[in-house]
């Protein structure tokens, strides 16, 4: 499989021009960062040689602590030590309330309806907590790779909805990292395994992490990983196994009072180690005596299996749905891959093997495989492997729709549609002279609006007054390659672009992000202007380089001599402006050069399309062009 080799060919990019890229697995329990170095994708360790960074952030009056040092205080300082923050990403204050007794924190609502966690160093949102984890990982990579990162790929559960994806991107923005792509975790794992085995065919990736479960079915063909279907549960994971054990211990101990947060945290940590012991042992002796909860006894594998069976069965049911959505038969699946620490539980391995009728592969470290796959993709996306033919084609994990009369949800884009995707839906006015309309955007599979996730409410304004039913309002759903939705609308009979005001139901408002960014500058005592200048220079440098490369490759073939000359001059001009200190002028110049090269970009894309069809049916293609 020459297409998929990760070894750099001899004539590859000049090593001095090699970009620094990394893949980040931002996990519920642990996070990792990996990078391709000397042709090999591997996770990066901290100064103490530790690869896994516990996804734990502790806020103290004197600063923020991330990772192992925060984890050791998780029980004693549970209110200020945030664990499993991934479960809160993109969630509203109401969702968090339903998680209720599982979380020891005190919450208050923010402007956008996002929960804020009260800590000794002030209120923090889940996005800010995640940004701390990202920052720690990125700093580690910068130190190891001896320089700032040019871009990262961050993995998310395939089953993450729009709000959860957006929250992850917001966290990256807050941490100041350039996100090349959000990549679905099972897809990342499939890359790592696909590269490893080099075999073509359908792969099922069963990914049970600390807090989320994903199942993805992918077809690997001609160097392209095509996701056929994906499914899962963004609130099912190893944490739930721990909770099942904790509940069992409390029941056995006869402790009847409600648990305080420290008690719960202590119980959960003990439960996790009991679960881990049960992977290799048939039974575990428990001697738990803490904060008034006392239990001495044995938990054997059979009892544990009974406790978690409903959870494992729920995951298998999601596999059934995904296989059905993919429109394939079980027999067509060549390989089943296990990912995520929770797939070490014997019952999980047994039930997956039973359902798929195949022994699942788990020969790669289930904790690291996602980060490794993300690093490979980051290396390709950042431009270190221009000739690489590897490509990922992903799908929308959950249907997107709109609220219609009677509180019903109408699907506009169905789940498992290939992305990027676009769909238009037409509406009309129901009152004479109506100039505005409310649109409620939803995500989910259920028929009732109340059972779906509310993503945003839009108000379309500026509709020209007409009799009822005469206006034709076209609402466009655009989903990009990260799986993120944007919506636009226009009145088609007059061509009026309707005003759209977005109020994310759960996300951060732009204002909140801006103020957080400002706060973080102050925190780091970094001059905001300096940072803007740096960012503007990076962006102009990127455009200059990309356009320069494009001209060198295709300029002579596609453009007139005079056009090439004009573009080269424009490039030089932007180079000069970028040496100055005015970040606004640089941004403006970048924008100008972009517009000047629009025609060229379009010609190149057309040429690429022709190239794709050429050699197949030349006569026919020539005739059409």
């Amino acid at each position: 499989m020459a297409l998929l080799q990760i070894t750099e060919p001899g004539q590859a990019v000049d090593p001095h021009q090699r970009k620094r890229a990394a893949g980040i697995d931002l996990g519920t329990t642990n996070s990792l960062i990996a990078s391709v170095r000397a042709g090999v994708a591997e996770t990066l360790a901290d100064e103490q040689g530790r690869h896994m960074l516990p996804s734990v952030v502790r806020y103290t009056s004197s600063g923020v602590i991330v990772g192992d040092e925060a984890l050791t205080e998780a029980v004693n300082d549970s209110m200020n030590t945030i664990v499993s923050v991934k479960r809160l990403m993109g969630r509203g204050i109401k969702d968090v309330a339903t998680l209720g007794d599982q979380l020891p924190y005190r919450f208050s609502a923010s402007e956008g309806g996002m929960p804020r966690i009260e800590t000794v160093s002030g209120n923090v949102t889940p996005v800010e907590v995640s940004a701390e984890i990202l920052r720690t990982l990125v700093d580690r990579a910068s130190a190891t790779l001896a320089g700032d990162l040019d871009g990262v790929v961050i993995t998310v559960p395939a089953y993450f909805d729009d709000a959860q994806r957006q929250a992850t991107k917001d966290a990256a923005q807050l941490a100041g990292v350039n996100v090349l792509r959000l990549l679905n975790e099972p897809t990342a794992a499939a890359i790592a395994y696909g590269l490893d085995s080099g075999s073509e065919g359908v792969i099922a990736v069963y990914d049970l992490g600390g807090g989320t479960f994903d199942i993805s079915l992918l077809r690997l063909r001609k160097g392209v990983f095509e996701v056929l279907a994906t499914g899962g549960d963004s609130a099912l994971g190893g944490d739930d196994f721990d909770r099942a054990i904790a509940a069992w211990i409390v029941e056995q101990s006869g402790y009847a009072k409600p648990l305080a947060s420290e008690q719960l945290r202590g119980l959960l940590m003990a439960s996790r180690s009991i679960k881990e012991s049960l992977t290799d042992n048939a039974k575990v002796d428990i001697d738990f005596d803490r904060d008034g909860v006392q239990f001495k006894g044995i938990l054997d594998r059979t009892t544990f299996d009974d406790l978690v069976a409903p959870l494992v069965d729920a995951s298998i049911k999601a596999c059934l749905r995904a296989v059905r959505d993919a429109g394939i038969e079980l027999g067509e699946i060549h390989n089943v891959v296990l990912v995520g620490g929770s797939t070490r539980v014997p019952q999980v391995i047994d039930k997956v093997a039973e359902y798929f009728g195949k022994t699942p592969l788990n020969n790669m470290d289930p904790d690291k495989v996602v980060a490794v796959g993300a690093a490979v993709q980051a290396n390709v996306l950042v431009g270190n492997k221009p000739d690489d033919e590897m490509l990922l084609l992903d799908v929308l994990p959950l249907s997107l729709g709109l609220e219609t009369v009677g509180g019903l949800a109408e699907k506009v884009i169905s789940r498992n549609t290939a992305i990027p995707a676009v769909r238009a839906q037409e509406f009309t006015t129901y009152k004479d002279g109506q100039t505005a309309m409310l649109i409620h955007v939803l995500q989910g599979e259920r028929e009732l609006v109340t059972d779906c996730r509310s993503l945003a409410r839009f108000e379309l304004t500026g509709i020209p007054p007409m009799v009822a039913g005469a206006a034709k309002i076209e609402v466009m759903f655009n989903v990009d390659a990260d799986g993120l939705l944007s919506v636009s609308a226009r009145e088609t009979s007059t061509g009026t672009q309707a005003g759209v005001e977005v109020k994310p139901s759960y996300g951060l408002t732009d204002k909140e992000i801006t103020s957080m960014l400002q706060a973080s500058f102050e925190h780091a005592t970094e001059d905001a202007n300096r940072r803007s200048l740096m960012e503007a220079r990076v962006e102009s440098g990127r455009v200059i380089e990309a356009l320069g490369n494009a001209l060198a490759e295709d300029g002579a073939a596609l453009l007139m001599e005079s056009d090439i000359h004009a573009l080269q001059q424009a490039i030089e001009e932007l180079g000069r402006v970028s040496e100055g200190e005015d970040h606004l002028a640089i941004s403006e110049g970048t924008e100008l050069l972009g517009r000047a090269s629009e025609e060229f970009a379009s010609l190149r894309m057309d040429a690429a399309v022709r190239k794709a069809l050429a050699g197949r049916n030349i006569a026919e293609v020539d005739k059409e062009i």
């Binding site: 001609k222 160097g223 749905r321 059905r324 390659a481 972009g594 090269s597 190239k611 069809l613 026919e620």
Partner: protein, 173 residues
């Protein structure tokens, strides 16, 4: 080359209801390898925007040509036939439809017999296949007839969706 090409032209395929699915699949991958936004992750904003537009178009075209009902509607559209929202259909056909709906309902009410549902879906699949063959024939000879057949196909497809949904419900997916 521009965005106004029809979906068949995008893949360099002849405009025909019968589509070589394997060839379509191959060309879909070849095209995405050239235009997918991942190819331009390090490119300029213009390139990124164009890539998203192209990749979206290629996805839409692929989905339309891959599945038979959207393909039938699309090919009629190319011939200037715009489908009606509430078409008038022969009474006999509608009676059959009501009958089929009732059959499906009785399967659901009768404690949801999976075997009965299976044979119902089998029957539906066969009916759909027959309609498709008729459509292919009518397309070049009698556009009005082809249009009517598409309405019938729409009915059967909707019924099939209901049958699939019932199966999901019975299996508690």
């Amino acid at each position: 080359m521009d965005f106004n090409k029809n979906y068949f032209e995008i893949f360099g395929l002849p405009v025909d209801y019968a589509v070589d699915q394997e060839l379509l699949g191959d060309r879909f991958l070849d095209l995405q390898k050239q235009v997918h936004p991942d190819r331009f992750a390090a490119g300029t904003d213009q390139e990124k925007r164009l890539a998203v537009q192209w990749a979206t178009l290629v996805n839409t075209a692929n989905e339309t040509l891959r599945t038979s009902l959207p393909r039938a509607i699309y090919i009629l559209g190319l011939r200037g036939v715009e489908l009606e929202h509430n078409p008038t259909l022969p009474a006999a056909f509608l009676m059959d439809q009501i009958d089929l709906r009732e059959q499906l309902e009785s399967i659901e009410e009768g404690e949801g017999n999976l075997e009965e549902l299976d044979s119902f879906r089998q029957k539906m699949r066969q009916a759909i296949n027959e309609l498709q063959a008729k459509f292919q024939e009518a397309l070049d000879e009698d556009t009005d007839k082809a249009e009517r057949l598409v309405y019938e196909l729409q009915f059967l497809s909707k019924l099939m969706v209901s049958a699939n949904r019932l199966e999901e419900k019975l299996l508690d997916y």
